[in-house]
Point group: C2
Chain length 517, copies 2
């Protein structure tokens, strides 16, 4: 039976129903109002937990069995171990060994290390993934399709969906660098130190059963308790939870590419001329080479003028840590640590603060931090003439990336996307993006190596930059330049069969990912 | 219509219904199993909160009106400002001015500074209190009775009742020493610094509307965020939230009374001989003079033997802080700070840890910290031959104290009550306590100035102390000694009209407080 499609407020076709559940099409920014109550777990009793606080069980298999693992359950994991995760795959190896089928996997993100799970998508151990389908998993989704539709959510959307009961997690498996037998856990120390564990917060709070897995057990209390033992059912001690050098690369470096350096320089200059860089301002830049370089420009400007930022949002790295230690920012509000310096700083410096998708990104909260950030610098695979942007698919339609915090961050006071005008002779600015991940009304500035386009909705920025010497252009002009060089791009060759949907921060459907022909 | 009474597992008569709600009589330790789900608040949307994070409104009255204050609502406050609270009474002054009636007040504790609220109990602004009725409020309850039955709960029971939806808070007013405009708040700094704010955690998480009131607003982010702004609806800035010298007395001192010093010495010696004091042990003692002295004895023993505690539970004070700073304990797990040294340490020392009734005391969690503590030293107004103890009423039946964390703490591995054999010629050890607050099976040792009684259930302790030179006696012997001196005590002269009930940690009714004749 063909899927019924409906048109959302951006004119994109989205399924009316996903994996048997009715959906709400995207209605516009702030237009959909939730009603109903948050999800609530069963009330527990201390009478059912060991009085001495020792919740250890011998193996992950024991813990999964005690947690009642069975067909059709929803299993969640976090991605703080990134490409060094050694626990995620084990869960499904155990499930496959037990002959369990039709699990839903809800990771906060997936990495190439999870490519062995393709075989469980094929044999039906895993029904579908809600979270992100990166690399091999994305390619499988795009070309073959999973047994259910994939659901892509932002970090904030993941918190929202779990909080709101859209996703009910039966078992959360939270791999951690250090824990005590009660289940208190921290990411800032231990052989697999990853900094923090905020992506697993919702899982700990709302999953019906919570399993903590660690290779470094310490006497109670494990402190900080980034994950609170009071939410935890079982603790498993294993030999090794992660591969340290793949968790924190230690190799985050600024870009050396002249084109990317130009993007960084223009972006910083734009922020300066627009009056964004001031004493007490705040910013968020990612961990890519360009973003790192922008941070360094910001630091130079602050140092030169004797000013300081109030806070910098992480993903943290050695450059942000240097700013903190040099007094160029009061705080790092960190969501994940990208290198060993970030981990060290988080452990040692109380102004390097552990945040979570709850504090930072959850749109169904009483506000969140994202909208308070003065400027955020993000990437995109594509941008269209309405400033809508794509971060999950490439222009050939292939699903290769997760949304991360991107949708949440674009609520900042100024969102800037420094992007190349084209990649491999494929224009980045187009009539229409392959997949809309964020509505153009929230994207303020596009910086390319051939010019800068300000969203016409931002009259204040247009006015502030009136006399700038920066090469300000319209987005139409930028698109034309790209097409003059590369030619008009081909439309992606995909079918009318959905393989995944992209949720907006409020749980509505903003777009669909289609099977590739 | 007379209240229907039922007999609980301890043989105490308790109302079948309280303020229109069916009750479960106490069934025994760990016997009552909750079913059902935790309370869940309405899902919010960031679209309804200011994007710049500024939630300030001009006055507390404005905030209460915006929060929808109306007849019959449930209003909560915390007691971290103790007898220096300047906000609690204002709420009801405003309500009275607006002509609002029948409010339920749910403080985490009340103090003598709240005695002006008696007039609102009289005029019907406040219908009844759930929390604690101390001093004047207790005397009013005992002699006149409120319009509804008072409900006494432990700190953990308060968290449990809010979490479980037994108490649904319409508006939580959280007065704080320092906050930002988003509602992040901390107790460890500011003119009214009180250390921490853990008693308001449940309120922030589960109240339908949350108002933060402060006299010290700082730029976002206020860190630590002991209360998270993501739970907060409105922020009010006032001139003064508390009277510092009444918040932290700074005068906590060890006892100089020879009798109490003897109790302290014997208690410490008992712990030592019973093998409780060992490297890595843990303890909790209160802030009274006797308890402080016991802590000092513990410190002396540890220092002498080159050992250290793993953690000491607070109420913290300068003696505990000294232990932490001297390396005699790895951590202070603090629930409230009793003096300025406690506040300083909490602010400066990351091993002085902020805990809450959620982590420490909630019986309807997946375990809590209380049962992991090796030894806890507590007080009592009365103890009976079954080791049942009373902490809320005096032997004349007068309600004068709250339960505090007492019921929760008695889950420790060894609970010791050092008490005088009699007070004002009224025996403390009796055939039957006026009000049962904790069942005898959880109370292990009674230390008096005339001898020490071990609960016969604790065969291990009896064995460990077999050869002790301490004056071990039976509880019957202790009772006889008291009665030989003071005579058989009179029974309290109360009526058969309930004025309040005492909840056990699981929400069941353990006893009733009766109107005094």
């Amino acid at each position: 039976m063909p899927v019924k499609l409906v048109k959302n407020a951006l004119g994109r076709l989205v399924p009316a129903e996903v994996n048997g559940k009715q959906q709400t099409p995207y209605m516009g920014v702030g237009k959909y109002r939730p009603n109903g109550k948050k999800y609530a777990t069963q009330i527990s009793s201390c009478a059912d937990y060991p009085a001495d606080g020792n919740k250890t069980v011998p193996t992950l298999k024991d813990a999964l069995l005690k947690a009642g693992l069975k067909d059709g359950m929803v299993i969640s994991t976090h991605h703080h171990f990134r490409n060094g995760d050694l626990v995620g795959n084990q869960i499904f190896d155990i499930a496959a060994e037990l002959g369990i089928k039709n699990l839903t996997w809800v990771p906060s993100a997936s990495f190439e290390c999870h490519s062995p799970l393709v075989k469980y998508l094929e044999d039906g151990t895993i029904h579908h993934i809600e979270g992100s389908m990166n690399g091999s998993l994305g390619r499988y989704t795009s070309t073959k399709g999973m047994n259910g539709l994939g659901i892509l959510r932002s970090h904030g959307g993941r918190y929202q969906s779990i909080q709101d009961g859209e996703v009910i997690i039966d078992i959360a498996v939270i791999a951690v660098p250090t824990a005590d037998a009660f289940g208190n856990a921290t990411g800032d120390r231990g052989p697999a130190a990853c900094g923090l564990l905020g992506f697993a917060l919702a899982d700990s709070q709302y999953a019906n059963k919570v399993i903590v897995v660690t290779d470094n057990i310490v006497p109670f209390p494990c402190y900080p308790w980034q994950i609170q033992g009071n939410y935890v059912d079982y603790v498993v001690v294993v030999d090794k939870v992660g591969i340290p050098e793949k968790i924190v690369s230690g190799t985050t470096e600024v870009t050396k590419s002249p084109d990317r350096l130009l993007l960084a320089e223009w972006t910083a200059q734009f922020c300066d001329e627009a009056g964004i860089i001031r004493d007490g301002f705040s910013f968020q830049a990612g961990a890519g080479g360009t973003a790192l370089s922008i941070g360094i420009y910001f630091a130079d400007i602050l140092r030169e003028r004797g000013m300081k930022a109030r806070f910098a949002r992480g993903g943290s790295n050695k450059y942000l840590v240097k700013m903190l230690e040099e007094g160029l920012t009061d705080y790092i509000l960190d969501g994940q640590t990208f290198d060993l310096e970030g981990v060290r700083s988080m452990r040692e410096n109380s102004n390097h603060i552990n945040t979570s998708p709850f504090t930072s990104y959850n749109y169904h909260g009483k506000g969140n931090f994202a909208s308070m950030v003065d400027v955020v610098i993000l990437g995109a695979t594509e941008v269209d003439l309405d400033f809508n942007a794509n971060v999950v698919t490439h222009s050939d339609g292939m699903l290769l990336h997760g949304i991360g915090g991107w949708q949440n961050c674009i609520f900042s006071k100024c969102t800037i996307l420094p992007v190349p005008l084209f990649r491999d002779r494929i224009p980045v600015i187009r009539d229409e993006v392959t997949t809309v991940c964020g509505p153009g009304e929230l994207i303020d500035v596009i910086v390319t190596e051939r010019g800068i386009a300000i969203n016409p909705l931002r009259k204040d920025l247009l006015k502030a930059m009136k006399n700038s010497k920066l090469p300000l252009k319209t987005i139409q002009e930028l698109k034309k330049e790209a097409e003059d060089i590369c030619g008009k791009p081909d439309k992606a060759n995909y079918t009318d069969e959905p393989v995944a949907v992209v949720k907006w921060v409020d749980g509505t459907l903003i777009d669909t990912v289609w099977k590739i022909a």
